[in-house]
Symmetry: C2
Subunit: 408 residues, 2 copies
C-alpha cells in the first residue's frame, strides 16, 4: 500500500478531516493537512469545547508520527483568504487529490446573525472557488473530493427517492417528451446548506470549462467519534460536538442522556434524516479517492449515507437505552414538520462499502465516551439559540412546544 501519492486535506484538523487524514496516512499516502483552526476558534467564540479532550494539532501530529512512523505535514493557511499561498502549496506538493473539508459546516451557526450568515457565505464560496482556480492555474490533473451534504436535496420531495446527484426528467421539445438528465434541483434549508448548493455550481462550471475531475459527496448526519486510527492513542482522539450549533442529532442525544438533560427534539421529531457513522465517512473518502471520475466525465456525485431514521425514533431509542426523558422544543428551523426520505447509495455499495448501521453496541461505545467526559459539558449550551427567522420563538424550556399530531 506504500504508494507515496500525495494528498492535501483541507480542514484536516476537523471532525471529519482529522480521522480522514489519519486513515489516508495509514493507507500509505503522503498527507498534507491545511487548516486555519477556525473550528477551534469558533469553540472559543461559543464558550464551549469538544466533549473529548482533543490535543493541539501539532501534538496530535507528533503522536501520530511516533505511533505510526508516518509523518503528516501541516500548513496553517486560510484558503478563503490567502490564494497565493494556496496556489504555491499546490504547485509544490503536486497532489494526486485534494480533499476539501474547509468550510463552515453547521446550519444553526450559519443562522445566528448577519455576521454568521455573511461569514459562512464568504468563507465557503471563496474557499471553494480559490481551490478550483488554483487547480486550473497549476495545470495539474488533480482530483478534487468535496464533502457536501444530503441537505442540498431538501427534504420535501414526497414519494420521490433521492438519486445520486442527477435526476432524469422528461421535457417537451418540439411537442415530443424527451428524457434528459439534469443536476438535481437544489432546495437548501439554511444559509449553510445554500453554500453547498453554490459549491455545486462552481463544480459544474469548472468541470465543464476546465475539465477538472471532481467528486462531490452528499453526506448524511455523522454519528460516532472514534475510528480505528484515532483509537490508537488518547492524544489522537477525535472531536465530539454536543452544543446547540455544532452538535448533530444522534451524538447530541447521547450526550444529553449522559449528563441528565432531557433529549432535545425540535419540532415534532417527524423529520427523517440520513445518517452515516464516522468510520464509514473515512472509508467512503478513501474509496472516492481511489475511484476518480474519468477525465472529461461530469462531476461524480455520491450519496454518502447508509441509513435513514426519524428524529423521534432515535430519541425513543436513546431513551430506552438510557432512561432519559424526551422533551419537545419549538423547532428553530423553517422546515416541514414531517418528511419521508429514501436515499440511493448504490455507488458506494458497488465499490465495496459494507455499511456500519445503528446498533446498540456502537451506541454504547458513544454513551461510554459521553459519560467519561460528561464534566466537560456546559448544560447552558445544549439548547440551540439560533433561529431561522426572527419570528420563531426561542424555547429554552421545551414547554412551549407541544408535540404535533403524527399521521403514522
Amino acid at each position: 500500500m506504500e504508494n507515496r501519492e500525495r494528498i492535501i486535506v483541507l480542514g484536516g484538523d476537523g471532525f471529519c478531516g482529522w480521522p480522514t487524514s489519519l486513515r489516508l496516512s495509514s493507507e500509505g499516502y503522503d498527507v498534507v493537512i491545511v487548516d486555519n483552526l477556525s473550528r477551534r476558534k469558533i469553540d472559543v467564540e461559543l464558550g464551549c469545547e469538544s466533549l473529548t479532550p482533543i490535543k493541539p494539532l501539532e501534538q496530535r501530529l507528533r503522536r501520530w508520527e511516533e505511533i505510526s512512523g508516518r509523518r503528516i505535514d501541516y500548513r496553517a493557511l486560510n484558503i478563503a483568504d490567502d490564494y497565493e499561498a494556496l496556489e504555491q502549496l499546490i504547485q509544490e506538493v503536486r497532489p494526486k487529490a485534494i480533499v476539501h473539508f474547509a468550510e463552515q459546516r453547521a446550519a444553526p451557526y450559519s443562522m445566528k446573525s448577519p455576521r454568521h450568515k455573511r461569514y459562512t457565505v464568504d468563507n465557503n464560496i471563496n474557499g471553494t472557488h480559490n481551490i478550483l482556480c488554483a487547480i486550473v492555474e497549476s495545470g495539474l490533473d488533480i482530483h478534487l473530493v468535496h464533502l457536501g451534504t444530503m441537505g442540498v436535496y431538501g427534504y420535501g420531495t414526497a414519494g420521490m427517492s433521492i438519486p445520486e446527484g442527477y435526476l432524469t426528467v422528461k421535457v417537451d421539445i418540439d411537442g415530443v417528451d424527451r428524457e434528459i438528465e439534469i443536476p438535481y434541483p437544489p432546495h437548501p434549508g439554511s444559509i449553510y446548506h445554500m453554500t453547498k448548493t453554490l459549491d455545486a455550481l462552481l463544480f459544474y462550471y469548472y468541470n465543464k470549462n476546465d475539465d477538472i475531475r471532481i467528486t462531490d459527496l452528499h453526506q448524511g448526519v455523522v454519528w460516532g467519534t472514534n475510528t480505528e486510527e484515532t483509537l490508537m492513542h488518547p492524544d489522537l482522539i477525535n472531536r465530539f460536538d454536543w452544543e446547540g450549533d455544532y452538535g448533530t442529532v444522534l451524538n447530541r442525544f447521547l450526550v444529553e442522556a449522559a449528563v441528565g438533560h432531557p433529549l432535545t427534539v425540535y419540532g415534532s421529531g417527524g423529520q427523517t434524516r440520513a445518517f452515516i457513522h464516522i468510520r464509514d465517512t473515512v472509508r467512503c473518502i478513501s474509496l472516492a479517492i481511489k475511484h476518480p471520475p474519468a477525465r472529461k466525465q461530469r462531476v461524480k456525485i455520491f450519496n454518502q449515507a447508509t441509513e435513514t431514521h426519524r428524529v423521534r425514533d432515535l430519541a425513543g431509542l436513546v431513551a430506552r437505552l438510557t432512561g432519559a426523558e424526551v422533551r419537545y422544543y419549538v423547532n428553530p428551523r423553517n422546515e416541514a414538520s414531517e418528511n419521508e426520505l429514501v436515499v440511493h447509495n448504490e455507488q458506494f455499495l458497488e465499490l465495496g462499502l459494507n455499511p456500519i448501521t445503528l446498533s446498540e453496541g456502537l451506541l454504547q461505545e458513544v454513551i461510554e465516551i459521553a459519560s467519561r467526559y460528561a464534566d466537560r459539558v456546559d448544560q447552558a449550551k445544549i439548547i440551540a439559540d439560533s433561529r431561522w427567522r426572527a419570528d420563531i420563538p426561542l424555547d429554552r424550556e421545551g414547554t412551549a412546544a407541544r408535540r404535533e399530531p403524527v399521521a403514522a
Copy 2:
C-alpha cells in the same frame, strides 16, 4: 406621477444604472444611487475609457437637478465590503424597491486571470448576499429587482425554447409521471455568468426562508447608448463600451466600423444571442418595479430581451451599412460554434412593453455617436485578450481563424 416612493439604485453610475436612475427620477421616484465607481476604475486598469465622454457622477447629478428640478442622492459605498453602512442606509431610506446593478458584468473581464475570476466571484456573491441579509434585518417589505442575464440558461438547448425562469418537466414518482415546475437548470458559460447562477440560488433561498419579494431580469445583450433622459444634456450622456472586455457585440461592431477596424467576429459567428435596446432596459426595469411579485410568491423571472440574432448576421448588416470588412478571429470562449435560441418574453409584452427592434435608424444613431467620438478609441484595445482556457490561442490578427463551415 409624483409618488415620492424611494428607490435605491445599486450601481447607479453604470451603463444600465445611470439611465435607469434618470428614468426613475423623472417618473417621480426619490432615487438614491449607491456606487463605488468600480466600473470607472476598471477603465483606468484597462487603459481605456468610455467612447462617450461621461462626466464624473457628482457633475452628472448636479446637471440633472438643474435640468429636471429633481434631486438624486448619491452614497459612495462598496456593498460587497461595507455591510454595516448598507444596512444603515436601507434603514434610513426605507425604500419601496432596491434595483441591483452592482456587479462585475463582463464575461471576458471575469476570465482574464485568477485575480479577475476571484474578484468577480467575491464581489458579486458577497454584494448580492449582503443586500439580501440587510433587507431581512431591516424588517421592511422591500422589493429587490436584480439585473441578471440570459446567459444563465446557456445556449446549448437545441430545439427547446427558453421559458421565463421555470421549466415544466415530468418526473417518475412511484412509477407515475408527474408534472413539476423547477428552476431552469443553469448552464453558465463563464465565471461572470456563473456568479449570476449563484445569485439565483441566493434569491431562491431568501425568498423561501424570509419571504423577500424578488424579481430577477434575465437580460440579453444591450445595444444603443442614450435614452430620452440622457439626451437632455451632453453632461448626462451615457457610457459606451467598445473594448475587448466590456464592449458587447453590436455596439462594438458599430465602433469598429467608425474607426476603420475590421468587424471582429469570434468563431464562426453562428452564435445566436438575445438583444435589447438600452431604452427598453430602462422601461422594463420601471415595469418590474411597478409589478412586484405578491407577498410569498416565488422569485419572479422575466426574460428581458426583445429579439435574437446570429452574430455573423449582425456583422453582415453593419458591413452593408458602413462598408466595413468582416474578419473572423479564434473564439476565446469555450462554447458551441452554432446555436439556436428561441426566447419567451411574454410577461413584459403583457405589461405593455412595445419593443424597440433593430432598425437602420437606430443603428445610424449609434454610428453617428461612434463617428463623433472615434478619436477616443484605442485600436490596440479592440481585440479581446481574455481567453476561457490557457490552451485557446490568442488571435490578434484574425488570420489564424478560418470561418467554420456553416450548415444553413
